[in-house]
Symmetry: C2
Subunit: 429 residues, 2 copies
């Protein structure tokens, strides 16, 4: 026999064994059913997109992380014949790095047959060529809902309501929805007198508030050589704002004059609507320091944090300018994404096992003695009693065999004893 | 506004709109639940594998169709600095072209934690760089069950039973399972005196029997310049075999002496067992001319054809020598794959619509007049009555709006009339 080939998955990729898939499938089932209840329906886009679409999209840092797919046949031969092979022209396709860029393309491509507004669910793998490290994978599942075609903040309300209700059904409690508006954030920086070209860096620092505190933000802004007066005003604002937390009137009063009611009122409406709907089961807070990374957001942004866990479990926002890049006509759009891998790893840490609706029974027969047809008929009889039935040949070490059945979540077994013998289920619990 | 980017999916790829995904999800639900009943559990492997694994696998023609993923960073720079860039060293990863090569790697990689035997379900996309043409896509879903670790033909019986029962649950009837053994096929060619190096070409011709008939096969074998005596014996065999169809004793008698009971008995056992289990709902036939394309099969092979449709809806076989390529130790293995895209397109041609278990109700409100919180509360009330509820702002053209709701499978709607008004459901049927 030849030397065996390596059996490890590619770097940064992973195999999912039955118990892992069972947990993921359970979560996907809950999420899908919950979103269906809100009138969302699933759509799907291909794993691969034209490379120009991905490179031209607003992927931010993700643009550096695209897995590019080599051209094939004559197209590739032509590139390789060039005196100097150009790196950028070797690929014609790439693997999607998120579900938002493909969604926007999808919407523009299918607008004539799609309902307006479109309320879409997307659940599927995305790919990023990050440096492999523990717990970070190069293929992971994203789970988004988006509403395309609704300008008013009822879209934000529905997204937050549907996502929160889904998290509750997944067993998450004590979570907080933080909400802000990207325009408000820009107005803060402008009001306080930060240089326009350095606003993005102000946001990067603000984003760390949770981790480094007001003092940390102050230090980082100083190191970054922003105008001293601007820093003072920002720190003053952050201090007042933190005191006012949870009190919308006081939070409104702390905002600079540039923030008009046009921006404030929809935010206020969403916060109060969701507080009302939440019934105390989760919290929603206006947080003027919430940033969210993606550059394509144009209005409200939101994030869900879960007590006891550092990173967020969901995030999203409004992106009214993206559809126009494809269709030539702007269409309002808004989305919320559940951090699927985060959710699954929290459930797994908690030792959560999906409830099973049917009993799993193993039918054990003697391969040398028993008639296979009779065994299969016996299995069919057991299935008619609404059991899940696996058929297994008896192994020499019965104890080891039964242990293995337990680890496969079998709750009972039947020792097959011939065509006319009764099928007696013995418990494995 | 800049010139819009093209919104079409990449060549050979497709977008799936809500009604399409609903049908696919329904089929996946039926298939998964049916296979679960037989004790199979889902596993998942990554979309991308190391390119050497894919190239080294037994992919047959598919090896020409691999989407290769470009190396990144320094690794790519190094390749491009070579005086002559080598095509084969530009990629380090590739997209899987089937689910069997990855399964075998998965098994070898996880054998210590997996149950033996492993009864695995795999449902997921695979990728082949075929020339784009109508109805053929470069990304499509495969849907396999495999049993790894069972040497006896009970594995084949279970695979055929589970797959047939699944097809019945998908609404397919009047289908026929054709079954053969790869070794028997080889012995036929040997017995009749075909040149060993030309056996594969004999099989390619035999595979066309359904389409071109015995005369067609005879002509093609002659054109291919096989030994005249061998051709005569083969045609004689085919004629006798066709007469004997459905009569196992006569079919056995028509086989050359080289086919021993060691090969015949398991085949006979599977055919009779499944005939017994089928209860007349579908047929199983021994077909000594069944070929199946893949080179890795080592024993029984099977295929399911559906009356009125030319290509098969499922296919599979035993591949006892593949696991050994990874683990260095052969492990018996056997699989059956449902042609998922074929199934879905037949269901779609039939005009099949997945049954819905809940009523879909649209709640229509007036965006200018109504209070959003009250509207969302009304939607929640309707959901408590076990309805799926989509919330929509009233459009100017009410008739058009209602038509669109019908096309989204809404069965009723409620015109919101204020906080205290009753929620009256009007039928859309």
């Amino acid at each position: 026999m030849e030397k065996p080939i390596s059996s490890a998955p590619a770097s940064g990729m992973r195999d999912l064994v039955p118990n892992e898939v069972a947990l993921r499938d359970w979560a996907i089932g809950i999420i899908t059913e919950s979103y269906h209840q809100y009138g969302f329906t699933r759509i799907e886009t291909p794993i691969m997109e034209n490379i120009n679409l991905l490179r031209g999209g607003e992927g931010g840092e993700n643009l550096q992380l695209i897995f590019e797919v080599l051209k094939r046949g004559d197209k590739l031969e032509r590139e390789l014949k060039e005196t100097s092979v150009r790196k950028d022209s070797l690929a014609d396709l790439g693997l999607r790095f998120d579900l938002t860029v493909p969604l926007v393309r999808f919407y523009a491509n299918n607008v004539s047959t799609l309902p307006t507004p479109l309320k879409a669910i997307q659940i599927g793998p995305v790919f990023r060529a990050e440096s492999p490290q523990v717990g970070r994978f190069r293929q992971f599942v994203q789970c988004d809902i988006d509403i395309i075609g609704v300008k008013s903040e009822i879209a934000e309300m529905e997204l937050v309501q549907a996502t929160s209700s889904t998290l509750l059904q997944l067993g998450f409690e004590n979570f907080t929805v933080r909400i802000n508006d990207r325009r408000l954030l820009a107005l803060l920086a402008e009001s306080f007198g930060f240089a326009k070209e350095k606003t993005d860096r102000v946001f990067i620092t603000l984003d760390k508030l949770d981790k480094i505190g007001i003092d940390g933000v102050s230090k980082e802004l100083q190191n970054d050589e922003h105008a001293a007066a601007a820093i003072t005003k920002m720190i003053d604002f952050l201090t007042r704002s933190q005191t006012a937390k949870g009190d919308l009137t006081a939070q409104r009063a702390a905002l600079p004059d540039l923030v008009t009611d046009e921006i404030w009122q929809p935010l206020y409406n969403v916060v109060t609507a969701i507080q009302n709907i939440a019934g105390g089961k989760f919290k929603i807070e206006f947080d003027p320091t919430l940033v969210r990374g993606m550059g394509y957001y144009t209005g409200m942004i939101f994030e869900i944090a879960c007590e006891g866990y550092s990173s967020s479990v969901a995030g999203g926002g409004r992106y009214d300018k993206m559809v126009g890049k494809f269709s030539g006509r702007d269409v309002p759009a808004c989305g919320f994404s559940i951090g699927f891998e985060r959710i699954v790893s929290i459930l797994s840490e908690k030792g959560f096992t999906p409830p099973s609706t049917k009993e799993r029974i193993a039918l054990i027969f003697d391969a040398d003695r028993d008639n296979a047809v009779d065994v299969l008929h016996a299995a069919t009889e057991l299935r008619k009693k609404n059991h899940i039935v696996g058929v297994y040949a008896r192994k020499k070490d019965m104890k080891k065999h039964l242990d293995q059945l337990v680890s496969q979540h079998y709750s009972g077994y039947v020792s097959y004893r011939g065509k006319d013998a009764e099928l007696e289920v013995k418990s494995l619990k």
